[in-house]
């Protein structure tokens, strides 16, 4: 239950759950229509889907600011291709949310004369451009990783080169293709976050392609793609280690190590200080002291942000154990949630 509380406290996470539910309704509606369900049932499913769509539009108000902030951060990336792809993707997302907000205003009657069809097409166009940029970024990353793999294996591959000289042109091409595909498979298998991101973007792209009429599929297929990509997004939120971060953006190992050491030292000094102080305080003061320590932990946690939060979480969990045993020793009953961040 605590896991659901932590998960749903993030607005993006809750929004993904409702996105999954919305596309599940689309898929269900299509399946039931094919199987000859009653018109009343289909109408109810459609009503539920429309309600979720409008509710999500309301909750997405203000997401343009988040996309612009992300674009502002991405503009400082070192790699030029990544900088371009990610920044443009976020800018397109910001435009998509802006169009989405206008659609919401139109549906709720604030802007009654807004052309729903026109703004809907515009929003899907921006969404499509953002996805194309994301897929370009994924393709670039895959290419870099494949080159790295290939250059790492080249000294061992002399017999392959010898074989290629002997065969004729078409077979040579087929062999090269097989090698590339094998390399691609290896790269994707050894980088699950990249694979997840690629699959997610590939599923998502069918939605605007269908709505813009560029590649018509069926509502069922769109629903399935939307549901799959929403589930994958939920997975990356629940398990942040599966969220893809570029190899080029990762800190060098040494820097990572020193950050861990610094936080480890800080965490242990806080635990020691808290333990010494606790013996002298009364019940209420103990509670506020521990809360302050927990706030301190959470401030450190926020600093780490997108990077190594999983490492910090482990360290914080380790520091909770000595605090809990101290509490039990002092016979103070304090909510464990005071320590969670």
């Amino acid at each position: 239950m605590e896991a659901w509380v932590r998960f749903s406290a993030q607005s993006a996470a809750k929004e993904r759950v409702f996105r999954a539910a919305q596309y599940a309704c689309t898929l269900l509606g299509y399946t039931m229509q094919k199987n000859g369900a009653s018109a009343e049932l289909l109408a109810r499913i459609k009503q539920l889907e429309a309600h979720m769509s409008l509710g999500r539009k309301l909750f997405r108000l203000g997401n343009s600011a988040e996309a612009l902030e992300a674009a502002k951060r991405a503009i400082h990336l070192s790699d030029m291709v990544l900088r371009f792809c990610i920044t443009v993707a976020h800018l397109n997302r910001a435009m998509y949310f802006a169009c989405d907000n206008i659609l919401w205003a139109g549906k709720t009657g604030l802007v009654p004369h807004a052309d729903q069809e026109k703004w809907s097409q515009r929003s899907f166009r921006y969404y499509l451009f953002a996805l194309i940029m994301n897929l370009s970024r994924d393709a670039y990353e895959i290419r870099l990783l494949m080159e790295r793999e290939a250059s790492g294996k080249r000294p061992k591959g002399t017999e392959n080169g010898h074989q290629a000289q002997v065969d004729n042109g078409l077979q040579h091409l087929a062999l090269r293709l097989r090698i590339q595909l094998r390399l691609l498979g290896h790269v994707l298998r050894s980088n699950p976050p990249l694979l997840l991101d690629l699959v997610k973007n590939a599923c998502d792209i069918f939605i605007p392609l269908d709505k813009l009429g560029l590649y018509k599929t069926s509502p069922g297929f769109v629903g399935l793609c939307g549901l799959t990509s929403s589930i994958l997004s939920i997975l990356t939120i629940v398990h942040p280690q599966h969220r893809y971060r570029s190899e080029l953006l990762k800190e060098p190992k040494k820097q990572q190590q020193s950050r861990e050491d610094r936080f480890g030292l800080q965490a242990s000094s806080w635990v020691g200080a808290a333990a010494r102080k606790m013996k002298m305080l009364n019940c209420r003061e103990r509670e506020s002291c521990l809360y302050m320590r927990a706030s301190g932990f959470s401030a450190v946690g926020c600093e780490a942000v997108q990077g190594e939060t999983s490492i910090l979480q482990k360290m914080l969990q380790q520091s909770i154990q000595p605090m809990n045993s101290l509490i039990r020793h002092q016979r103070t009953q304090l909510p464990v949630a005071a320590f969670s961040c």
Partner: protein
Amino acid sequence: MEAFVLFTNQTQGRDRLFRAAQYACMLLGHVLEHQAGPGAARAALRQLEASMSSGRKLFRLGNMVHAMVAARQTIQLPDLVPRICLTASNLIRALYFICDTVLWLKSVGLLPHIYKWKWRNWATKCYYYSLLMNLTRDLYEISWLLEQAAEKEKAKENSFPSDTQDQDLICLETERQSQPFLPLLYCTLKKHPPLLLDTTKNLCDLSSPLDRLGIYKTNPGIIGLCGLLSSLVGILTIAKPHLKLK
């Protein structure tokens, strides 16, 4: 902009913003009602309010789990009165969210045969009793603080003469000379902003169920104003967590 993004990344933060907007629409609609002129603005405000209310209901699905988890935490509090009050409040809030979910299912047509007025009445009653429990806890905290202030004053009287410029002791002097209760209460609450904010929020929230249950009828303007105030306090406590009453 970064602070806004961090604030809206939390579901509760976003919900408070929309709640503030919803009650602002209610207040504005009441103010415009008595003015002559086309009703387009009033109709737009009503529609906006309804849309925000239904959107917030959707995003409240699953909050009964939050209330159960909060009840599990508050049952471990050391002091008896806050433990009972807050646990009861959280359990009743869980019941409120269950009623709210049923009302949402009715509004989307998934449960067409339930009596909306009956479930709405139960939901309002649960909300009302939960607020009363929170207010009881606030009153207990206030009386505990007043007792502490009185004890401190007695200790000071025994060790020092009464002439002093200190702000605290001016407040305590007020008590010694049997001044009205309100200035004393003001002094106490000024030193404890989280308690003041929590009490204000609960008192403001009380206006809506009191009106719905017919206990104390007001008008949409008062309900809108109180709702807006309590939402603003909620936003403040989320933006500045040290102002939240623990």
